[in-house]
């Protein structure tokens, strides 16, 4: 099957030159660093703004995947980079990016050049700047979508790229967009987020949220703008960014996010200040997004040439396949089509990791079955957005060969885990082994399906890169006198019913935590009413019974 080029944004000469010059600039910065013309203190913010961290074992490079969209050509390059410069694998992250854990500083300019050749980069994937703009991983495909949010994400991406005023913010800034009533992008937990909505006249516009966040002090975002007209969105965002840049705290890194400022000012005052700034910006008109530009960018994301007259039935192909369809296949806008989730969560695997060989096979699947396109989800999975229903059995068979065919999307073994103390310089505890032990404990597929939707999210430190605050069951690894302990939180949600998980109590050891989770799950199974997910039962009965069950020392 020859390479298929999906409908997505394509660089023109300006974009290409921009990335090429940025790469050349970083190459010079690396040379200056190696020669000592830059100290580490001076070099650090520069390398962070090119996505390069120094971690526990080595450097780590975070490559941007704008709104989670990858073409097969790009996927092959990502595999090539893993092979040539790293140790043969990569990690898909909770912000839809991909990370490499073992690049050498001296190789990074070449890696960036290779990325640039397929219209990719690592710009602003770290540092106190606007980060990768993430989007609903079902964008452009989901049956419930009002409008594809990715054109907006692309417009925001360009506007935020090396924005001269906002590259030294008080702290990092994360933006997410969604175009559907069901929130698959965790909007409520972002510094700023946009939901595409329809007004009374039936016209679409942007509901802008501000001040959500994870970390030490989680917050649910609040509404900054109920209905921002499309042409105004950049002016509106610039206003919010300016208020934040001017007033965000600079004295304490744990109090520097916009969520803190929003909470300190109160949303009413925040709105007032942003409105004033917005009105000033609009006077000059320079940030207006004309309809032609909206149309021009939207055209890049046109739906693929769907086949018509296809059967809307999913073929029979055995019990295992049927289970996989139940969890991993989602409704598509187009009759005859479906969205297929590739969970990178086979019990025992490192969540979100894929080898270079697996990436190459996935690129083949993309070309053969999904018009050359895949999405990265913030749940550390991959999504084939446009597959014909009749191809699902063949896709499933290929995924089985890859060992990525577990029928567990959204189930208890579809765990999100940050890299944790196994990789990360900031971590206090390991998270991957905990994810593995829980997944293996609940490996039995019938049991998983009986339990139903249960999102476990694990973070190895308070920075919450595993999004544990948004887990139905959240687990936070802490270091208590040199021993890893794991605290449970229950009842978090990153969907449109967003909530922050409630901390249960003292932590469990590495050897106890999976059993504690099991006791919690068993109590749910005993207590639930028909149709209730774990989250629903928790919300109905509260923490107390779960706490009793978790700390019970005898086997349930």
């Amino acid at each position: 099957m020859s390479e298929v080029t999906p409908n997505m944004y394509r660089y023109d000469e300006f974009d290409a030159r921009f990335v090429a010059e940025r790469t050349a600039q970083f190459k010079t910065q690396v040379e200056r660093r190696l020669k000592g013309e830059l100290t580490e203190d001076q070099f650090k913010p520069l390398r962070l703004m090119n996505g390069l961290y120094l971690q526990l074992h080595a450097y780590m490079l975070r490559v941007a995947v704008p709104y989670g969209t990858i073409s097969s050509r790009q996927m092959r390059m990502l595999a090539h980079i893993a092979r040539k410069y790293d140790k043969g694998y990569g990690h898909f992250t909770t912000r839809q990016n991909i990370q490499y854990n073992w690049p050498k500083l001296v190789d990074v300019p070449d890696i960036l050049s290779d990325l640039a050749s397929v219209e990719m980069h690592a710009i602003q994937t770290s540092g106190n700047c606007i980060r990768n703009v993430t989007a609903d991983h079902f964008a452009g495909a989901a049956a419930d979508e009002i409008e594809d949010p990715r054109p907006l994400a692309e417009i925001v991406r360009q506007w935020s790229s090396l924005h001269p005023e906002f590259v030294f913010l008080p702290r990092k800034f994360k933006i997410a967009v969604s175009g559907a009533p069901q929130d698959r992008a965790a909007l409520a937990y972002h510094d700023m987020a946009v939901e595409i909505v329809r007004n009374a006249e039936g016209r679409t516009g942007y509901k802008v949220l501000v001040g959500g966040g994870m970390g030490r002090t989680p917050y649910i975002a609040q509404v900054l703008g109920d209905f921002v007209e499309k042409q105004d969105i950049l002016a509106f965002m610039e206003a919010a960014m300016r208020v934040y840049n001017e007033q965000g705290r600079r004295d304490n890194i744990y109090k520097a996010r916009i969520k803190i400022l929003t909470n300190a000012l109160g949303i009413k005052e925040m709105r007032r200040q942003v409105e004033i700034e917005f009105a000033e910006i609009k006077k000059t008109g320079g940030l207006q997004v004309p309809q032609e530009e909206l149309d021009r960018i939207t055209a890049y994301f046109a739906p693929p040439a769907f086949e018509t007259g296809l059967s809307d039935e999913i073929p029979e192909a055995g019990k295992d396949f049927a289970n996989w369809v139940k969890t991993n296949v989602h409704a598509h806008r187009q009759p005859g089509y479906a969205i297929a989730t590739i969970t990178l969560k086979t019990p025992g695997q490192v969540p979100g990791d894929a080898t270079a060989d697996q990436m190459d096979v996935i690129a083949e699947l993309m070309d053969t079955f999904s018009v050359g396109e895949v999405r990265v989800s913030h749940e550390q999975n991959l999504v084939l957005p446009h597959v014909r229903k009749k191809d699902l059995p063949a896709i499933y068979a290929r995924l089985k060969e890859l060992d990525f065919a577990c029928a567990n999307a959204g189930l208890i073994t579809d765990i999100i885990a940050c890299p944790g103390l196994d990789y990360c310089d900031l971590a206090n505890a390991r998270s991957i082994p905990i994810a593995q032990s829980i997944a293996l404990k609940f490996e039995d597929l019938a049991r998983q399906h009986e339990i139903g939707e249960l999102k476990i999210k694990i973070s190895g430190c308070i920075n919450a890169c595993g999004h544990h605050h948004a887990g139905h069951i959240g687990i936070l690894g802490v270091d208590k006198k040199g021993v890893e302990f794991y605290q449970l939180q229950l009842g978090g949600s990153g969907a449109e019913d967003a909530s922050i998980g409630e901390v249960m109590g003292p932590g469990f050891t590495e050897h106890e935590i999976a059993d504690a989770v099991e006791r919690v799950v068993n109590l749910y199974l005993k207590t639930r009413q028909p149709g209730e997910r774990f989250l629903d039962t928790y919300r109905r009965v509260g923490m107390a019974p779960f706490k009793d069950a978790a700390y019970e020392k005898e086997a349930a």
Binding site: P45, L46, S160, E165, F166, F168, P170, E293
Partner: protein
């Protein structure tokens, strides 16, 4: 020792910095915001150039009514990570319409000079090892920009439309 870069070359710094409690010498002076607010009338009556230095937490809006009488606003970067002055320069240059010198002082990186230039800085107080060649290099590393700023540089979107 520091040098001043202005209009792409080393320049003479004609402004004498004056401590808050020191007497004002003749000629062009650079004072803190507190000093300016305290001795505003006296300063304005002198008919010699006045410069005001703002700390990173001081919004230039407070000078709005007096900007036409100022020749220089110096914006401090106490630490290069403190990026507030990028916003201060931006509104000073465009919204408040300041036509005088906006000078970057303090701790900033070579790699920030281009951003500073874009948001309206036109003078830089730099250490000895920061050469004019480096300055020009900083401004020329990136040909195009995606977003409008105080420099009025055409954005990529405008360049696309012109093709």
């Amino acid at each position: 020792m520091t040098k001043l870069i202005k209009s792409g070359a080393y320049a003479q710094d004609n402004f004498v910095p004056v401590a808050d409690d020191a007497a004002l010498p003749d000629g062009a002076v650079l004072v803190s915001l507190a000093r300016f607010q305290k001795d505003r009338d006296a300063l304005l009556a002198r008919n010699t150039p006045i410069g005001v230095k703002l700390a990173s937490d001081q919004n230039p809006q407070v000078l709005a009514d007096d900007l036409s009488r100022l020749s220089l606003v110096a914006l401090e970067f106490p630490k290069f990570r403190d990026g507030r002055a990028f916003s201060w320069a931006r509104i000073l240059r465009t919204r408040l319409g300041f036509t005088g010198e906006i000078r970057a002082v303090g701790d900033f990186l070579f790699d920030q000079v281009n951003y500073q230039h874009r948001v309206g800085f036109d003078a830089w107080e730099v250490s000895d090892h920061f050469t004019v060649e480096m300055f020009h290099k900083a401004l020329n590393e990136m040909t195009d920009v995606y977003q409008p700023s105080a420099d009025g540089k055409k954005t990529i979107r405008e360049l696309r439309a012109a093709k």
